[in-house]
Subunit: 314 residues, 2 copies
């Protein structure tokens, strides 16, 4: 089960407040200043919801660009230095880098500092943190903003990315309630609607909505490209195929990592889908066209409901 946090949960509270008395976050360290981390900084700055933003990344020119773009105030190359004076740390790095970042920042965190992340799988991030700390840390609030674009890098960051978007937080029994409240307030100040659920539930739902479609799209393009006449197949494909396979243009290394990080749930989602697909195939082969129609109709109707949810975030 999930619940939407916020003052009444209506759409007005989901937009960035125009007047903020005191910054929601004093000093924010962003580890990994790209589309996701950079947009968080810009959204908080726009609402005067952050005092100072410290960046950290591997590429010096990218960090200098982030300063020039007004995304961050200053930067360090070493994560330990970046977090030393921070009240809040947002870890915005690929899943494969999480454990290394935790190893570097844990000894350097200021007392009372809160850490959150933006990883697409939550169980693996929690396992990484627990492995580094020896137990699930009280100061970690695992998070996942359901937002993004096909672009990456700090140049692609924009303040509106999270407006009316869902951010899932998956605090554990060990997590300090005050830490969860601070991270919730930060994302609300960025314009997002915060939802809480267990890490297991997050990983199950995201396997269905995101990881499964990516695997299906990758598998389709890979499969068709191995047909004998694949050049001709691509020549005779049109806009529907282009849209259906858009996510197959995503970063393969990132998606290998996400697939591995959410292996159990993604395998389960793949098997469930294959069972349903086998049933549809059998119905079609047997000439049970009204059964095929029932699937198509149900899908068309449910997608209309999904679009209403997506557009209205009703």
């Amino acid at each position: 089960m999930s619940r939407v946090a916020g003052k009444g949960g209506d759409s007005v509270t989901a937009t960035a407040p125009q007047e903020v008395m005191a910054p929601v976050v004093g000093r924010l360290a962003i580890i990994g200043v790209g589309l996701i981390g950079g947009s968080l900084a810009l959204a908080l700055r726009r609402g005067a919801a952050v005092g100072e933003v410290i960046g950290c990344g591997r590429r010096r020119e990218s960090l200098e660009r982030a300063v020039a773009l007004g995304v961050i105030d200053r930067w360090y190359e070493e994560p330990a230095e970046a977090v030393a004076e921070a009240d809040m740390v947002a870890v915005c790095v690929p899943l494969r880098a999480m454990r290394s970042i935790f190893t570097q920042i844990v000894p350097a965190l200021a007392p009372g500092a809160v850490v959150t992340d933006v990883g697409s799988a939550k169980g693996s991030v929690i396992a990484d943190a627990a492995a580094v700390c020896g137990e699930v840390p009280t100061w970690l609030v695992p998070g996942h903003p359901i937002a993004g674009t096909e672009h990456s890098g700090v140049e692609a960051a924009f303040a509106e990315l999270y407006e009316r978007r869902r951010v899932v937080l998956t605090p554990l029994p060990e997590t300090a309630a005050a830490a969860t409240a601070q991270v919730t307030a930060m994302w609300q100040a960025a314009g997002a609607r915060v939802v809480e659920m267990s890490p297991e539930h997050h990983d199950e739902v995201l396997a269905a909505t995101s990881h499964l479609p990516h695997a299906l799209a990758y598998a389709l393009v890979d499969s068709l490209a191995r047909w004998d006449d694949h050049r001709e197949i691509f020549e005779l494909a049109a806009g529907g195929f282009r849209d259906f396979t858009r996510i197959a243009s995503s970063d393969p290394e990132m998606w290998r990592d996400i697939s591995a990080a959410n292996r159990t749930q993604l395998v389960a989602a793949l098997r469930r889908y294959q069972d349903d697909l086998a049933r549809l195939t059998a119905a079609l082969e047997a000439g049970e066209d009204e059964q095929v129609l029932a699937v198509y109709r149900h899908a068309r109707d449910e997608r209309a409901r999904f679009l209403k949810i997506l557009e209205g975030r009703a």
Copy 2:
């Protein structure tokens, strides 16, 4: 194998000619004046490539609208009347209506008249015509323009729909060469690039590029909507899911008909895809992440090639 017909096959000849000495088609009858048939009429009119366009359809107000929009010159409600004086007949009706239309027009066709269609499966259209005529008719040039939008109806028609798009023709040994030449010239005058192949090959390729993705998208939305927490699943889905499932908003009855009309090839494509998907699932489950990465990378690279083909029609 396929070949591109046309004067040299370069991109210049694919655009609508600005000066035409005589109309390519004298009197064109369009059975079913919607997006596809209406856009064909508009494209030919723009290039002065047609003398007169006669419409035919089931809804009188739609036909009157087509006259008002300058798509057709006049109309009949009876297909037999519409084709009686036509040099060229374009049958632009759903696959399920093909046999009925052939039954009505065959006795009424003028001597020397050529008939083509726009059905998404070609074997079934040829079977329908042969069933009505007792043999494969020499005057039928089965066709399929690879173009469309998410809209339908004559209001959605526009003259540029076929520009640089592929139109597949699947003439048979029985088909009169002059008939194929006339249909080729018509589509070229509408801005399209004409490709010839066998009906079997068309149906195999379109099963892969179009019918399979539709079935996969319908199956996914249907499948997820039957999960217990499907409301939450849709709430946490984002733009990638929206694009991936866009084709699941297509007309279910039309796609039941297409699926049934191309049953053998679609079932084969579904089975082939399921074999590949099962292999990917097994690799992921076994922790063979480099094998997973190989599939994702190959797909990403091949989709980049596809986009070049789609954009450049190279």
